[in-house]
Amino acid sequence: MNMIRVHPVVLPILPPLIAIGSALLVGAGLILLAGASPITAYTALFQESLSTYFGFGNTLTKMTPLLLTSLGVLVALRAGQFNIGGEGQIYLGALGSAVVGLYVQGIPALIHIPLALFAGFSFGALWGLIPGYLKAIRGVNEVITTLLLNYIAINLVSYLVQHPLQEPGAPSPYSPLIAKTAQLPIILPGSLAHAGILVALVVAGLLWVLLVRSPLGYQISAVGFNPIASRYSGISVERTIMLVMSLAGGLAGLAGATEVMGLKYRLFEVVSSGYGFDAIAIAFLSRGSVLGVVLTSLFFAALRSGANVMQRSAGVPITVIYAIQGLTMLFIAISLTVGRHSHLKT
C-alpha cells in the first residue's frame, strides 16, 4: 500500500470509491447482457436523477428514507450491533405516523407534523427495542431477530391496511388520506421533493454531534470497540445496546413516517422497497462516518430514482439496480479487509 503515493485525505475514501466503481463496471456487464448499451443506460440514469429538476426532486425523496434508515444502522454499528430490521422498522414507523395522521384531527400542522413524526419514531423504536432487549438481556443474536421481525412487521401492516385501516371502497388495499395538517410540505414546487429531506439532514447533523462530540457517543463507541473494558469502566453495556437498537429502530421508523407524510399521504401495503437492506450497504460503505452516509445515500437514491428512466429510455430492467447495489456491498466487504482502521468491530 505504501508503493503508491496517495494524499492522506484521499486514502480513506479510495476503497469505497473502488468498490462502487467495480460494482458499476459489473453492472455495465449486466446491462450488456440485457442487450442495452451501458453508456446510454448510465447516462440516462445519472442525468435524470441528478441534473434535471424533477429528477433531482425524485432523488431527494428517495434519499430521505435511505439516509434516515442508514443513520440508524450506523448508530447500532457503532455499538457493535447489526440492525438488519430496518425494513420492518420502516413499516412500523409508517404505521405509527399514519395512525396519528388518520385519527388525530383538528390540530394545527405545527403540532400535528411533529406529533406524527414522533409517533413514527416511537413505533420504529419499539420494533428496535425488542431485538435490542433480547440481545442485551437474553443474549439472542440480533441479526436473526431483526431479520425475522421484518416479516412480521410487513404482514402486520398488510393486515391492517386490508382490514381496519382500509379506505372504504378502495380498489386496492390502502388507507384513507391522512389529515392535511399531517402532510409534509413540498419544498421544490412542481416536484415530489418534500420537507422530509430537511428532517433527514437535520437528524444527520444531530446524530453527528451525538456520536462524535457527546459523552453518550463516546460510550456507544466504547461498547462497540471493547464491551468488556467498557463494563469495567462503569458503562452499562446492556443499556447501551438497548439504547442504540431503539434509536436505530426509531430512525428507520422516522423514515417510514416521512414516506407516508411527505410522499404517499396514505398507508399502503408496500411501504418500502428494500430501503432497509440498502441502508446496511450504505452504512458499511460509509465506514462509520455520518458524512459518508449522507453522500452514499445520495448515490443510492440517484440509482433508484434514475432507474425508471433508465428502463424507459435504454430498455434495461430496473432490477439491475438491485444487482448493482448487492455487488457494491460485496465489493465493500472485500475492500474492508484492505483498510487498517475500522469503526465496525463486532
Binding site: 447482457l33 425475522l148 439496480i321
Partner: protein, 307 residues
C-alpha cells in the same frame, strides 16, 4: 379426521424440506466455525438456477444439479471472503444475500418474460411399496420424492459422521478450537472451505426443492426468509442434525397451518398465519436464550485479525 391430520403432517414435511436442507448446510458451516447468514441467498440461488436449468433442458435433474453446483459456488465465495480474506462473516453473508437477491431478480426478468416462469416440470414422488401403506407414517415418509429421501438419508448420515467418525471430530474441533487443530497439522482453512462449500450445495438443493417441487415456478424473492428461519432452527436444535431437522419440521408445520386453517373454517386473516413461522422462530430463540451454546469459534476468523 385422520386423513386431515395425515395431510397436515405431509404438508408440514414438504414445507420443512427447504428449511431442513438449508439448516443442514448451515450446520456444517457453523460447526466448522464459519457463520453462514448467506443461507437465504444460497436457497434463492438454488431455486433460480434449478428453475432456469429445468426450463431450458426440460429435465429436472439438470435443474437439481445446477442448484447443487450454483449453491456450492456461492459457498465458495463465502468461504473465500470469510476464510481467506477474513472479512467479517456477518458482512460477507449479508452481502451475498443482497447480491443473490439482486442478480436472481435481474436475471429472472431476462430469462422469464414477466419475472415468473410458467409451470416447470416437477419431481415425481417415488412410492415405496408396502411401507407406503402404513397409517400416518406411510404417506409421510414413504411417498415422497427423491430429494426428501436424500434429505432424510443425509440427516442420518450427518449425525453419524459428525459424532462417530474422526472426520466429524475434526470438523467439530475446528469450530471449537481451531488453534488446537492447526497445531496438529490439519489445515483449518481447508476444513472450513469444504464445510462452507458443502453448506452452499445443500442449501442450493433446498432451493431446488422450493422451485421444482413445492411450487414449480420461480418467483423473485421466493425464499422469503426461509434461510433465516433455518438459522433459527439450527440454534434451536443446538447445532445437532436431528434436532435441527425437527425444529425445521416445527416451523414447517406452522406454515402448513396457514394452508389448513381455512379448511377448518376458522376465519383468521391470512397475514397472521403467514407471520406465524417467524413468530414461532423468535419465541424458540427466546426460550433457548443462553442455553444454546454455539461452537466456540463461531464467527471468529482464524488466524485472528490483529486489532
Amino acid at each position: 379426521m385422520t386423513n386431515f391430520f395425515s395431510d397436515y403432517l405431509v404438508s408440514s414435511l414438504r414445507l420443512a424440506v427447504p428449511l431442513a436442507f438449508a439448516a443442514l448446510g448451515g450446520l456444517y458451516s457453523e460447526r466448522s466455525g464459519v457463520l453462514n447468514i448467506a443461507l437465504e441467498g444460497m436457497l434463492l440461488t438454488g431455486a433460480f438456477t434449478s428453475a432456469v436449468a429445468t426450463f431450458y433442458t426440460h429435465n429436472v435433474w439438470f435443474g437439481v444439479l445446477a442448484a447443487f453446483i450454483s449453491g456450492g459456488l456461492v459457498g465458495l465465495l463465502h468461504a473465500f471472503l470469510s476464510v481467506s480474506l477474513r472479512v467479517d462473516q456477518l458482512v460477507s453473508g449479508l452481502a451475498l444475500n443482497l447480491v443473490a437477491a439482486g442478480l436472481t431478480s435481474f436475471l429472472a426478468r431476462l430469462v422469464f418474460s414477466s419475472g415468473n416462469t410458467q409451470r416447470l416440470l416437477g419431481i415425481k414422488p417415488i412410492i415405496i411399496p408396502g411401507l407406503a401403506n402404513l397409517p400416518l407414517i406411510g404417506p409421510l415418509l414413504f411417498q415422497q420424492d427423491v430429494l426428501v429421501y436424500l434429505l432424510l438419508t443425509l440427516i442420518a448420515l450427518s449425525t453419524y459422521v459428525l459424532f462417530y467418525t474422526s472426520l466429524g471430530l475434526t470438523l467439530r474441533a475446528v469450530g471449537e478450537s481451531p488453534k488446537a487443530v492447526d497445531t496438529s497439522g490439519i489445515s483449518v482453512q481447508k476444513v472450513r472451505y469444504l464445510a462452507v462449500i458443502v453448506s452452499g450445495c445443500l442449501a442450493g438443493l433446498g432451493g431446488a426443492y422450493l422451485s421444482l417441487v413445492q411450487v414449480k415456478y420461480f418467483a423473485e424473492g421466493m425464499s422469503a426468509g426461509k434461510g433465516f428461519i433455518a438459522i433459527a432452527a439450527l440454534i434451536f436444535g443446538k447445532w445437532h442434525p436431528i434436532a435441527s431437522a425437527l425444529a425445521c419440521f416445527l416451523f414447517g408445520s406452522t406454515e402448513a397451518l396457514q394452508l389448513r386453517i381455512q379448511a377448518l373454517g376458522v376465519n383468521i386473516p391470512y397475514q397472521f398465519l403467514t407471520m406465524l413461522p417467524y413468530i414461532v422462530a423468535i419465541l424458540a430463540l427466546i426460550g433457548l436464550a443462553g442455553r444454546s451454546t454455539p461452537p466456540a469459534a463461531l464467527g471468529v476468523s482464524y488466524p485472528e485479525k490483529r486489532a
